[in-house]
């Protein structure tokens, strides 16, 4: 170790060989996470379409127990949350950490076995859900015989991330690393606590609901949100070639998120049998989330100002900017949903469903798509094969998700208003939601088209990489020579 490696000559300024080495070292593991994540996305999309169609055609495929709505919807949720979102997030985390720590990915077999374990655990879990073994706890439906596998896998990932951080060559931390390190520590803590208190040795009564929403809200806010923000903070400046508007704001955003988010979950229990102070503290903390959200929004917007013309050229930028804007909108909508008078109408309606998709899809998933558009050509050292498929992917997902969430939010609000009116029979309330539910199925098909286009493009890229013809594509990789040398050790 004492011997000077090429790295030590110019700390903080990676050169071509170093970048190529880092990207090449990430190739196998990141591809493993991305590809299995994409397969889960396709599976989750099919399940979502079935579940959505059943909401306005209840008899459809209702004969087999494992195809009933309760199981299909649950399987969809777990496939896209723990399958697609979590796996792609880990892939992005790997690459970002290596790039920002300026070290090649080490111990790939460890991280690869974590990926395999995660997928095995999840397949067992999803099959278990379809077989009727759901625990019935929202966001923790996976049966208890698969969750220890998932926990073990994630523990490996978290330990690995900290090891990479420990051996970093760049001393100073970028804000993305703060978010990533926090996320990989938060998630195992949340997951193990919720598993112990809700599945392994269930708490009883009101405590159960409290822990459930503490977990349900935090898994989105303290695991997926930080990873999404880490990507935005990295790729936005990177693509347009300009540093983030204010680094102060990003630090403020991180620490206020860390301080306030953990308290938010109980706002889902407004009106429930809980001590008033629990709900009130949660509402106050939810409103305080305006601080990090506005700080982040200002920071991203002022970084982008004057550079919007670049959206024309970069798929990454399109998805990332869409995700960043959605983060602001969905977070402010979330703040509104936490307030008592709003929650009384909007909760237990499709409004909540729309909000969840606003956050998980319009913000997180779009951000992950953007990150994959940047990372995949670099680790495979090949250009994206089809511009048409990229455009199709972007427009289908962007238009699709807007047409999904905006009308459904409004439909959910109408549903809540109707449910509060005792004069309106329940069946009438159901009818109010029907047009919005049908529109949702249509937008689901549009989203599915986008997903298939993206997957086809990835497969094509991989055929170019590993297939018979390997043509160098100099455009975005200008100057970076293909280098397949093993990681220097």
């Amino acid at each position: 170790m004492a011997a000077l490696s090429p790295w030590d000559s110019n700390l903080g300024q990676s050169n071509r060989a170093q970048l190529a080495e880092i990207d090449a070292s990430c190739r196998g593991s990141v591809l493993l996470f991305f590809l299995s994540g994409m397969l889960w996305l396709l599976a989750g999309t099919v399940l979502a379409l079935l579940a959505s169609y059943k909401l306005h055609a209840p008899g459809f495929l209702g004969d087999a127990a494992w195809l009933t709505f309760g199981r299909i919807r649950t399987a969809h949720l777990n496939a896209v949350i723990y399958g697609f979102s979590a796996e792609v997030a880990v892939g992005v985390i790997l690459w970002l950490m290596c790039r920002l720590c300026r070290v090649p990915l080490m111990a790939q077999s460890l991280i690869n076995s974590a990926a395999v374990l995660w997928n095995i655990g999840l397949v067992i879990g999803i099959v278990g859900i379809l077989a009727g073994d759901t625990t019935g706890v929202e966001y923790l439906e996976l049966p208890k015989y698969c969750t220890p596998i998932l926990f073990l896998s994630f523990a490996l990932i978290a330990v690995w991330t900290i090891v990479i951080f420990r051996f970093r060559r760049e001393k100073h931390l970028y804000v993305s690393q703060w978010y990533i390190l926090a996320a990989v520590l938060w998630f195992p803590w949340l997951y193990s606590t919720a598993q112990l208190l809700l599945v392994m040795d269930p708490a009883r009564g009101a405590v159960q609901a409290a822990v459930n929403w503490w977990y349900g809200h935090n898994v989105l806010g303290l695991w997926f949100t930080p990873v999404g923000l880490a990507s935005i903070y990295y790729f936005l400046p990177k693509v347009i070639g300009r540093p983030i508007h204010s680094y102060y704001l990003s630090v403020l955003g991180f620490w206020t998120l860390a301080l306030f988010y953990n308290w938010n979950g109980f706002h889902h229990l407004v009106g429930g049998p809980f001590p008033a102070w629990m709900i009130t503290i949660s509402i106050v903390a939810s409103v305080m989330m305006i601080i990090p959200v506005v700080a982040t929004a200002i920071n991203h917007h002022f970084t982008m100002i004057g550079h919007f013309g670049k959206l024309k050229y970069s798929p990454t930028l399109r998805f990332i900017v869409f995700g960043a804007m959605s983060y602001t909108v969905s977070s402010l909508q979330g703040v509104l949903s936490a307030v008592r008078w709003f929650s009384e109408t909007a909760h237990f309606t499709h409004h909540t469903v729309a909000h969840a998709h606003w956050g998980m899809y319009a913000f997180f998933t779009m951000t992950m798509f953007g990150s994959m558009y940047y990372i995949l050509p670099r680790i495979t050292q090949r250009e994206w094969p089809s511009e048409r498929l990229i455009s199709l992917h972007f427009w289908c997902t962007a238009v699709g998700i807007i047409l999904y969430v905006a009308p459904l939010s409004w439909g959910g609000w109408l549903q809540g208003k109707a449910m509060l009116d005792a004069q309106i029979p329940f069946l009438e309330v159901v009818k109010v939601t029907l047009p919005y539910l049908k529109l949702r199925t249509v937008t689901g098909v549009i989203l599915a088209v986008g997903h298939v286009a993206f997957f086809a493009n990835i497969c094509w890229l991989l055929v170019r990489t590993f297939g018979p013809y390997r043509q160098p594509e100099p455009m975005i990789l200008a100057g970076v020579q293909p280098q397949t040398a093993p990681v220097g050790k």
């Binding site: 990676s14 100073h172 193990s192 990177k238 070639g241 455009s391």
Partner: protein, 71 residues
Amino acid sequence: MGIISFILIGSSLAFPAVALYALWWAGREGQLRHHDKAALLPFDQEEPLGQMTDVVLNRSSFPKQTLTNKA
């Protein structure tokens, strides 16, 4: 007081402790200073400041002089 209670209480005490340690560590290491330097960390010689990366779509209309990497 089963073993689970001890695990839960322990972890809920340990977690804020880790967070506080992280904040203290960041202060000691100077991570909360030199923000001008930190903001430049995503850039390097290969993908430097001032140059757009990831030009994939509509390449024909992209300004020529910025296309090639100076390295």
